[in-house]
Amino acid sequence: MPYGKGAKDEARLLLGGGQAFATPFGTFYAPNITPSNEGIAGWSTLDLANALLRGVSPEGTHYYPAFPYSSYTRIAPQDVADLKAYLDTLPPVARVNTPHELSFPFNIRRSNGAWKLMFLNDDPVIESENPRGQYLVEGLGHCAECHTPRNALGGLDRSRWLAGAPNPEGKGRIPNLTPSGDLAEWSVDDISYYLESGFTPEFDTAGSTMVEVVENLSRATPEDRLAIARYLKALPAVPNP
């Protein structure tokens, strides 16, 4: 049974993995990150830091970039340590990981090492006078993993940063968050209210995979939501293709 997706309340904390992520390279299944033998019991804080910041497992293998370490590489060491301490308090789930279903050549894990040389880079993506907003959007919030298009190798296209992307689930497009998109008409408060409540300024409700993101951001502080909104308002404009 997949944990996570659509789970409410207490069930949200059963991080046994299993949620499927459809991508052009195949289907990925989120792993078990609970403190159980099937999960990450026995990992040190350094192991978690290597996984999040460098995409390397304790056995030294490279994770597939569907695990958003190209964003997480920007996470501050103290936040990794806090995250580890928190994960250790969660209920263990005994669920064996589902193998990914990938097409050639993406099914060769070794190619991820080369991929990282090309795309793993913790420089700030844009110039910003809003370090908190930048940290949350480019790092922890991993907004670009959905809102930025990818090149043929699956790397994020920094020239179209947060400018919208095909929807990996099929129909529709992930919206453009730069001032060339609908957000041009939204105020900083409108964006921050959307991230808290899921309501657009017209009171349409967020749908699709953004619902889960809003569910999580509704637990962030108001200051953090405002910092994210200010970062988005200051993005370089990139028109829709």
Partner: protein, 149 residues
Amino acid sequence: MNIKKTLIAASIGLALAATAYGAAHSPISARQAAMKAVGGQMRTLGGMAQGKVAYDDFAVISALEIMRDAAASARPLFPAGTEMGEETRAKPEIWADGSDFDTRMGQLLASLDAAIAAEPADLASYRPLFGAIAGSCKGCHEKYRAPEN
């Protein structure tokens, strides 16, 4: 955005319009017009829940009634075979998941009926009723509505 659709929904914002429109047009444009009419009432209902607009019980009940009729008219407009075309954002899972979609439509209608019957007299009694309605929009859009193209 289709101008005709916008005009029809905006000029009256009534389910009646959506129904009349539905008789002459495909189920896809008809359900989009009906959903737009549902959405149109959220401005009143959401603005009050948010505390941006002073609470007005009469305006709330009228908005709820219009929304109820619009939602009821949208319910039968998702026949099998309408997952493609006319920029529909309806996801194929609607038809793949059996009766879950229709059950959710039923839950939206039930939450609207409950709010109308409760005749909430003040903001405190209105807010949880609004929360149940908004929760059913979100839950269904999460599973069954694709992002805009």
